[in-house]
């Protein structure tokens, strides 16, 4: 079960010795910024510079000294003292108190749980521990860090007891684990590293095979807690309740240890996830270097254009400049395709100016094979790579050592995750530079105009809803499959549980006998519940010219938007032409092909109203909440030339429709309003499209979801008059549009503020238009074909009618 370390350069787990004044040439960031803004080639202006002061380390010691085996292991890794927060966390965990550690990036959070857990395993042969990480990649990374810690320990324990290496039998149990290894882990492991999805589908339903493990469970670690919000977080909360039920069944009551990046409400969030009180440790004792954060806003194009210079090209320029200044740099993008695009741009750019550097950059994103990702992480760690262009896949705590600078192309969806990405540079107390390039979308432009909003505001509150009846229905079914549910289970699943249980019983899924609800079907309920998105399936992308070698993977719901026939699929900067998409075999056959264009799918969305659950008014206009069926298909693709972004062709496509049963909130302005708009010379439909675009972008700020969690359509077929529909892109809905329904007036005021503050003249992607390079274009049934830039004045006029 022990695996060999994948690389020998035993990098310290967390080097906690101060290394501020190493005689290593530090890039001069101030000079770099000055050079960048004076650059005649620059397509953007420096909108804001924020300087954050350095902070020294604060140390602490646990009330009782650490076990000697652990102390020696830490010394071997160069850790002589614990930071204050680590010491407090150890004390709390030892005392059996559920704890949430909330400190900055690279503050040594892992030790906060490794130490108490390993100490317990050393002293108690029956005890077990469970680590949960949100991604497989992170699990592998933590596996390596744990391995370094365990291997650093002395061969033998004190007083003849076994040392760390013998006491800790650990391994990764996830979708990539072989059957043989799985069995070994089930039988022997006392420390298991896995992810919530595996726990949900591959462990809890088979808990009897894990009776020993659950019976001995003393600690459960939930790392990267801030990731568990929205859909995923609500699922995770219910999975943790199922876990606690199963532990209780086998007589165990484990202590939960959470680690999180900064969120506004860590304690409350941890408590909602767990369903029990959790204490917070947030006194960050780790040192922090001085940090400079610069905001860049691409300028409007010369002439009367409404478009700004490309944020991607600007990001590339900043990235190349950082590399040129000798700073190891990470560039974050918001989408896979953008990561590939910028990688291409950067290689071309560096190829002309610094060919040696061009060979030392790589893209990194989900969809790469695990080995490829490992290789990139290693190369980054060792300094072999000068730069990496990544999606948020590297945002989580994967340890790639210290980077000097980070460039963010577009603001990440939350303030919390922006700070995560910013924090990727400047580990270990060195000075660091972070630069954010704004996108031409309403939220980014708002933050450029109001940087104080970003720096003044604490990060968003992480919001979950474990009481969502739709999610409860899924997890109560899983829970009943695991163990029949009795009266005590309402304590775990909250007050809505009994109503949902009755609904499941009516549906024939559950059967209550003598006060216990049993799973009453031959199906396996966990199989139909995905914790992440709409779908857990993946498509494999194979290269036909290389004997169908696997190039990468893509999830099923995105496949028709990414690897449709004729698409140019970008991977590692190579462009591939998609020959064929096989929906049966779930594979896309591609061949390498050099092109001067990329492709963008055009989606056709249909919406069907199935009922009305609630009605209200906003600005005197009818507002409705109800179930809808949304279906969409990729109906065509556009070819778009690199750099100029000219559309050079449109090809119709015939792909099957995907269908979604969900919840929508819709607003249908009255005939009077529409007549007044028409009388003023506006097209009402354009006004609605503009407001729809604004609302879809702004809703995440209210409802605490990601932009891709919601969709919007303008449609007149359902009501016989045009209306704006906002819907949850989640089966059964997840309450985002319900939030919108309740706060529609607020939503509309925010839209009005953004659109009237926007300096553009006649509408731009930063207000009524859709942001450039969205993964897919929406084709509105009412707007004909094309790429509408709705009328800004019309949208403002409509909003004034509604907000007044």
């Amino acid at each position: 079960m022990k695996v060999l370390p994948l690389f020998e350069s035993a990098a310290p787990l967390t080097a906690q010795t101060s290394t501020t004044d190493v005689a290593r040439g530090r890039p001069d960031f101030d000079a770099l910024l000055a050079r960048l803004s004076a650059d005649p080639e620059s397509g953007s202006t420096l909108a804001h510079v924020e300087r954050l002061a350095a902070r020294p380390a604060r140390y602490g010691a646990p009330a009782r000294p650490l076990a000697p085996e652990l102390r020696d292991a830490l010394l071997a890794l160069g850790v002589e003292r614990l930071y204050a927060h680590q010491a407090i966390a150890v004390d709390r965990a030892r005392a059996g108190q559920c704890t949430c550690v909330v400190t900055g990036t690279a503050s040594g959070k892992s030790l906060c749980y490794h130490l108490p857990v390993l100490e317990r395993l050393l002293g108690d042969a029956e005890a077990t521990g469970l680590y949960l990480f949100p991604t497989k990649a992170l699990t592998q990374d933590q596996m390596r860090s744990l391995l370094r810690l365990v291997e650093a320990g002395p061969a033998h324990g004190v007083g003849g007891r076994p040392g760390l290496r013998e006491s800790v039998r650990f391994g990764v149990y996830d979708g990539d684990t072989s059957q043989a290894a799985r069995r070994k882990l089930r039988e022997n492991a006392n420390l298991l590293l896995t992810n919530p999805d595996m726990l949900h589908q591959g462990i809890l339903p088979y808990h009897a095979k894990w009776a020993r493990f659950f019976g001995g469970l003393r600690y459960v670690v939930v790392d990267e807690m801030h990731v568990y919000r929205g859909v995923f977080g609500s699922h995770q909360a219910l999975v943790l309740r199922r876990l606690q039920r199963v532990c209780r069944h086998y007589g165990a009551d484990p202590v939960f240890l959470f680690c999180s990046a900064t969120v506004r409400n860590p304690g409350e969030h941890a408590e909602r996830l767990l369903g029990r009180p959790v204490g917070v440790v947030d006194e960050d004792g780790s040192p922090r270097g001085a940090r400079t954060i610069a905001f860049w806003n691409p300028r409007l194009m010369d002439g009367a254009g409404v478009e700004r210079h490309s944020s991607n090209v600007e990001g590339t320029r900043l990235f190349a400049a950082c590399l040129g200044a000798g700073a190891q740099t990470i560039l974050f993008t918001k989408a896979r395709v953008v990561a590939e695009l910028i990688y291409r741009y950067a290689r071309e750019r560096l190829g002309e100016t610094a060919p040696a550097l061009a060979e030392r950059i790589k893209p990194y994103r989900a969809g790469f094979l695990p080995e490829e990702r490992r290789a990139i992480e290693r190369a980054l760690f060792s300094g072999e790579l000068a730069g990496v262009i990544s999606t948020n896949a590297l945002e989580l705590g994967i340890d790639v050592g210290s980077l000097d600078a980070s460039v963010l192309v577009g603001f990440p969806p939350t303030v919390a995750s922006t700070w995560q990405q910013v924090g990727r540079a400047g580990r270990q107390g060195d000075p660091a530079l972070a630069m954010v390039v704004a996108y031409d979308d309403p939220v980014d432009q708002y933050l450029m105009r109001h940087p104080e909003h970003f720096f003044g505001q604490s990060p968003e509150a992480a919001v979950i809803d474990p009481g969502n009846p739709y999610l409860l229905a899924s997890h109560l079914a899983c829970a009943a499959y695991e163990l029949p549910m009795g009266p005590g289970d309402e304590e775990w699943f909250g007050p809505a549980a009994s109503a949902v249980r009755r609904a499941l019983e009516e549906d024939g899924q559950l059967r209550t006998l003598d006060g216990r609800a049993y799973w009453a079907s031959s199906e396996f309920p966990a199989a139909r519940v995905s914790l992440r998105t709409l779908s857990d399936d993946t498509f494999t992308i194979v290269d036909a010219t290389r004997d169908n070698a696997v190039v990468g993977t893509v999830d099923a719901i995105s496949a028709p938007e990414l690897v449709y026939p004729g698409a140019i699929y970008l991977h590692e900067g190579e462009s591939y032409y998609v020959r064929q998409l096989d929906l049966e075999q779930k594979s896309a056959v591609v061949e390498p092909r050099v092109t001067d264009y990329y492709t963008q799918p055009v989606l056709d969305t249909n919406l069907l109203v199935r009922g009305e659950t609630r009605a209200a008014e906003v600005g005197g206009q009818p507002l409705t909440l109800g179930p809808v069926t949304v279906s969409w298909a990729t109906v065509g693709m556009k070819k778009i030339r690199f750099y100029t972004l000219d559309s050079i062709g449109y090809t119709p496509l015939d792909l099957p429709r995907l269908k979604l049963e969900t919840v929508s909130a819709w607003l249908a302005p009255s005939r009077q309003i529409r007549s007044r708009l028409s009388a003023a010379g506006f097209k009402p439909v354009e006004a609605l499209a503009g407001v729809r675009n604004l609302a879809v972008t702004v809703l995440p700020l209210l409802a605490m979801c990601e932009p891709e969690d919601v969709g919007g359509v303008v449609d007149h077929k359902n009501l016989g008059q045009p209306a704006i529909f906002l819907y949850d892109r989640y089966p059964g809905g997840l309450g985002f549009c319900e939030q919108a329904f309740h706060r529609f007036a607020e939503l509309l005021s925010a839209c009005l503020q953004i659109v009237s503050e926007c300096p553009c003249e006649r509408g731009c992607p930063a207000c009524v238009g859709l942001p450039i390079l969205r993964p897919a274009q929406q084709q509105d049934p009412d707007l004909g074909s094309g790429w509408p830039m709705p009328d800004k004045a019309a949208a403002i006029a409509l909003l004034r009618e509604l907000v007044a």
């Binding site: 339903p205 088979y206 808990h207 009897a208 095979k209 009776a211 069944h249 009481g467 969502n468 009846p469 739709y470 229905a473 163990l483 029949p484 009795g486 009266p487 309402e490 007050p495 809505a496 009994s498 109503a499 949902v500 009755r502 609904a503 499941l504 019983e505 009516e506 549906d507 024939g508 899924q509 059967r511 209550t512 006998l513 003598d514 006060g515 216990r516 049993y518 799973w519 009453a520 079907s521 031959s522 199906e523 396996f524 009922g611 659950t613 609630r614 179930p627 049963e661 919840v663 059964g732 309450g735 319900e738 309740h742």
Partner: protein
Amino acid sequence: MIRDAEPRSTRLLKRLGEIARRRSEGGEWNGAGAWSGAGEPAAEPTGSTLAPTRIPVGVEEILPGGELESPFGRVFLHERLRSAVERSPGRWAKPKRGQRAKVRVGPRWMWEADPDPWRWDLDPETGRPAPPMCDEPPETLAPEVLHEELERLLRVPFERVLYLDLETGGLGSSCIFLAGTMRWVGEDYVLRQYFARHYGEEAALIERLADDLATADAVVTFNGKSFDVPLLRDRAARHLIPLSLPGVHADLLHHSRAAWRGKVPNCRLTTLEAYVCQRRRSGDVPGDEVPGLYHGFVRDGGGERLIPVFHHNLLDVITMDELLRRLI
């Protein structure tokens, strides 16, 4: 217009929507003490169809037997002699060594009609072309292991050998609802079927079965090494019921593969029954329909629907014995 053909999932979504609405309105959707059952039907807006906990239609009429008490609750037991099932003692006498060579492999109807018994491309049930030959997975136990296993089995007093076959409520770790066993009692075999009339009786079923297994020295199954035994262990662990299995376990699937691979289209029990035992089943139920029948019974009663399942389970156990006699 009456829309009673509304699909279930739509109805569930509608109900969940109602719950969501009542929840967002802060309404009194939470009937206090809803679990006690008191007032529960009254709270159902659509009119409750929930049956009381006792299944109104029992299985006594179709499966004579009685209730057994155990510390884990009750379970239904049906018991009878094999001689009451099969009239010809020649078929069910205590197995003797040396019958193996006498077996002519192939369905009787087939070699009676066609002198060439090696027409394995025909389906024994229908006489029509069968699916391609033997796609059994190659992995099986080594011949010497199999031989040793049979030798150990034959050293056990035959009264202490238990034939076992389980029926379950689905894939994965689903509930066990029927356990068929057979045991030699000196003159005849005793067939026992433990039946959980609802999900709450599974624990007692397992406990009674564990008790029988504790008095056996060997267990004979068909595919039990991959299915019945791991599942039984799993379910027993789930109910926290101690389970100790006999030291000898002969899984006849492995022995049959070793003996007849390539001579039969596949090594499913019904195929072997036709080709090796030359017996055809009538009124059998396909294995994948069994879970649905059981869940339907628990939901709506109507024990008649389970008659083919009881029959199927009984025949499986008997066929195991016939196979064993042809293997030793």
